[in-house]
């Protein structure tokens, strides 16, 4: 997991305000929160002297490309299909209390996480407690995973 400081170190650090934010640090935080895109920092793209930094920044930000709207990344190759996250997720339980609530596989279509073909898959990410303006940092699915197959960027 990359930090805002690490991203900041790869920016021009001139506080030119071309991205619309007052400082480069604010832009770094924006990148981390996926509200800003690398291309919005025009000096970094245009000026030759930042070429190495830009390359490094793109490398660092690569995992963010695959992340879903809530920043959820599932590594199917690590997943055991145990269903801990399916049963632990509060949204899943609220959507299908008679099944998810007591440890059975969900039947409702409104659940976020379910196990298919032996590995977990995500749906309806808009329902996730990490989504939208009122998001909270719920970590029920990552904390319960025995193989670290789920993470948030």
């Amino acid at each position: 997991m990359v930090s805002a400081m690490e991203i900041y170190m790869l920016l021009p650090k001139t506080n030119c305000k071309k991205c619309g934010l007052p400082t480069c640090m604010a832009f770094a935080v924006g990148l981390l929160g996926r509200e800003k895109k690398i291309d919005e920092c025009t000096p970094l793209i245009e000026e030759k002297k930042y070429e190495a930094k830009l390359k490094k920044l793109r490398e660092v930000m690569a995992p963010f490309e695959n992340a879903s709207e809530t920043g959820l990344i599932i590594h199917p190759e690590k997943c055991y299909g145990c269903g801990n996250c399916v049963v632990a997720c509060p949204v899943n339980v609220a959507a299908d209390p008679t099944r998810c609530g007591i440890g059975l596989g969900p039947q409702s279509d409104r659940v976020i996480l379910k196990v298919e073909d032996g590995v977990v898959v995500s749906n309806n990410l808009k329902e996730c407690r990490r989504f939208g303006p009122n998001k909270i940092l719920c970590n029920a699915c990552t904390a319960t995973c025995p193989s670290k197959a789920i993470e948030f960027v």
Binding site: G81, G83, N84, V86, A88, I102, G103, G105, P146
Partner: protein, 409 residues
């Protein structure tokens, strides 16, 4: 989508939904990775009827198997853990008829503990009780995240139950006792107790000391005292002993019995053994009902005789023919036993290729139970689960094969 029961491990999950096209499984829901692997394996490396390495018809193979078994003086029938109760019952009848020795995988597995549980010397409960009432789950020498992936999510830690509405968030504690920081221990995080290999005896003594208010003789006394207070505060505790614990204690299982008895003086504590194969417990219960012993039985003198001399380890060296079904002893048992077994005329009944079918004189293919054959099995906690096949096949089931062998004899 069809409802399916998974026979990949002894949890016998029956909330699986599968869709089938062209006799192949193409989409399946709620099945864990282990179960998925078990199901997918149905489409590769299937066996064909063989006699002495040559292809034969199923009838020829059955006739040859009957010939080998009836001419043997001390046949051994081994395996049974991956067979339905119906097939196991047919197996016991066959053993009686042949005067054979019959043993299953629990002989080298959880047998020593299972015997005490079926005798009622160690209290047990069902997994549904665990979900509804348990507030402390102890995984001892077991790593369910790998061996029974849905154990924690279906029963022992995450689901909400009748008396445990707040579940893992507030009301449940899970404790891991293991030699290594396994995936399950990772989930238990602070409540992981490391034991050195083979030192479960000292661990039990330390727990007993703490429960009596004495200072335990271990390095981390503070952590042990903390464990003691968790155990004392427990309302309904369940211990899930795995192979690690059983192998470490072996003949000293009385000590574990003492620990459970001591815990039950304080609060309710149950034990559910982490059985591996899907119907090991079924065989133990069935044989106990018929003979009074859970495994290691010989019918050679007419009446059933029980003892270590009839275990697969001893019988492999003294038998003159063996029938292997629902297990692969050549890859699972110690080398000396496997080597001895590979030298006798071997009959292997197995849906898939294994070391046993490679070494066998006669190979008889069978339908995979749960997938292609229906039947009844006993879950790790003693619940009976009935299942129907959902793939069509022309293969005979284990039960049909054994009945045909018996008729031929």
């Amino acid at each position: 989508m069809e409802a399916v029961t998974c026979t990949g491990c002894s949890l016998l999950c029956n909330d699986i939904e599968a869709a089938v096209t062209d006799e192949k499984l193409f989409h399946v829901k709620n099945l864990c990775r282990k179960g998925h692997g078990h199901f997918q394996a149905a489409f590769s490396e299937r066996t064909v009827p063989m006699i002495d390495g040559q292809k034969a018809t199923i009838d020829q193979a059955i006739a040859r198997a009957a010939e080998i078994l009836s001419s043997a003086k001390k046949p051994l029938l081994y395996g049974w853990s991956n067979c339905t109760l119906e097939a196991q019952a047919a197996g016991v009848r066959l053993a009686e008829k042949l005067g054979a020795t019959i043993d299953d995988t629990s002989s080298f597995c959880q047998g020593i503990l299972m015997e005490r549980i079926l005798d009622g010397r160690i209290p047990t409960c069902t997994l549904d009780d665990v979900r509804n009432y348990a507030d402390t789950s102890i995984f001892w020498g077991a790593d369910p995240s790998n061996s029974h992936p849905r154990h924690l999510s279906r029963f022992s830690y995450y689901p909400r139950g009748e008396k445990r509405q707040k579940s893992y968030e507030e009301e449940r504690t899970c404790i891991a006792v293991d030699v290594r920081r396994s995936a399950t221990a990772e989930i238990c995080s602070n409540y992981y107790y490391r034991v050195a290999p083979g030192s479960d005896e000292q661990f039990i003594e330390a727990v007993l000391a703490v429960l009596d208010g004495k200072i335990p003789k271990v390095a981390d006394k503070k952590k042990m005292i903390e464990l003691g207070s968790i155990l004392k505060k427990t309302e309904y505790g369940v211990i899930f002993p795995g192979l690690g614990m059983v192998y470490s204690l072996q003949e000293k299982m009385d000590l574990f019995e003492r620990l459970v008895a001591r815990l039950n003086e304080i609060t309710a504590f149950k034990v559910v053994p982490m059985v591996g194969h899907y119907n090991t417990r079924g065989f133990n219960e069935l044989l106990r009902e018929k003979t009074g012993f859970i495994n290691r039985v010989s019918f050679s003198g007419g009446a059933p005789a029980h003892g270590p001399e009839h275990s697969v380890m001893a019988a492999a060296k003294s038998c003159d023919a063996a029938l292997v079904i629902g297990s692969d002893p050549l890859s699972a048992l110690p080398f000396a036993t496997a080597k001895a077994l590979a030298k006798v005329p071997l009959i292997a009944i197995d849906p898939r290729r294994s070391l046993a079918t490679d070494a066998a004189r006669v190979v008889i293919p069978s339908a995979i139970s749960g997938l292609e054959a229906g039947g009844t099995a006993v879950r790790m906690d003693g619940m009976r689960v009935k299942f129907e096949p959902f793939l069509k096949t022309d293969l005979l089931t284990d039960e049909q094969i054994l009945t045909k062998i018996m008729e031929a004899i």
